[in-house]
Amino acid sequence: MTDTTSSQPAPIEIPEGVWSQPAVNMSAVADLESVEAVRSVRAFASMTYDYTPGLATTRFLRAIKEKRLVGERCSETGKVYIPPRGVSPVSGLPTTEQVELGLDGTVVSFCVVNLDFTGNAQEIPYVSALILVDGSDIPIYGLVREIPYNEVQPGLRLKSVWVEDSELTTSFENIKWWAPNGEPDVPASDLADYI
């Protein structure tokens, strides 16, 4: 317990039959009844890690700082993975061949987010999509904007929208969001392997 909230919730009426703690007898500490009771606390659980993404993802992040998307290919299946983790999840072999990918992609599936939650920086509703980057074989998550949420559908072609060149870092946050690139939709049959 490190902090309390300043806005205390109102007492909740618990329906009959639902378990609750018995009321306390405050006759011996009656003066505490004249002050506002503490009803909740903020209890942050915080863990600080020293994170290293490993060799393959480091290569990916160094490329993304140069506004390039680079995947890595499985030597056995030929599939290209992004972001690369250094090993093929199918064959278990190291992925040693780096593959330059496009900066456009295709919506494979998506979700319209209507519920706000702690830490969310987006205005609701917004669209979170699985996007297949051109040249890759596994979709990545991305935010879809510049189109009404009810017009997003699988097959929608997108371009990546990046931060200013001067703001590029070794972070996925270089891509602010994805937006329609104007190309015709990809037929659903072409996406069957990725859903």
Binding site: M1, T4, Q21, V24, M26, V29, E36, V41, T48, L55
Partner: protein, 153 residues
């Protein structure tokens, strides 16, 4: 991710601090809530069991019988150190930023000890010593309202 590189084999790999934080908010219930309310007022309360024994900090249920406990009672802000352990190497997030003692302190009027810390030099620490609570000047109804205990001189 900042360009803070380390080596793995022959290649440099990135590394960065990563903080994973869950901003939990939890309700206190009437007993713990009353204890925290008292801390905010700069004092302590305990809870009395059926035999008249006072537990501080208060608990909702009798540890022996499991019966609900409801009678809150005042407890003093001074007490006696029943046992202690010296903390020489201070870590982030600990109650004090210099070496201190972890203690079991039994407050006046209570029959059970609570765990906390005493801010005193190592040579001042002794079992049976008298201590008093030091509260934060700005209190919000949190365990952090109680900063530590200090020797009664």
């Amino acid at each position: 991710m900042p360009e803070d590189a380390t080596t793995m084999g022959d290649e440099d790999v990135l590394r960065a601090p990563l903080v994973l934080e869950y901003p939990f908010k939890r309700t206190t219930g009437p007993v713990i809530g009353a204890f925290l309310t008292a801390l905010r007022e700069g004092r302590f309360i305990g809870i009395e069991d059926d035999n008249g024994k006072v537990l501080c900090p208060p608990v909702e249920y009798d540890p022996a019988s499991g019966a609900s406990l409801t009678k809150l009672v005042p407890v003093g802000s001074e007490g006696e150190v029943l046992s202690w352990s010296w903390n020489q190497s201070v870590r982030d997030g600990q109650p004090l930023d210099h070496p201190f003692a972890w203690v079991m302190v039994q407050l006046d009027g209570a029959d059970t000890p609570m765990m906390h810390v005493v801010d005193a030099p190592h040579e001042a620490m002794a079992t049976g010593m008298r201590v008093r609570a030091r509260f934060a000047s700005e209190r919000i109804g949190s365990m952090d309202d109680l900063l530590c205990f200090e020797p009664v001189s």
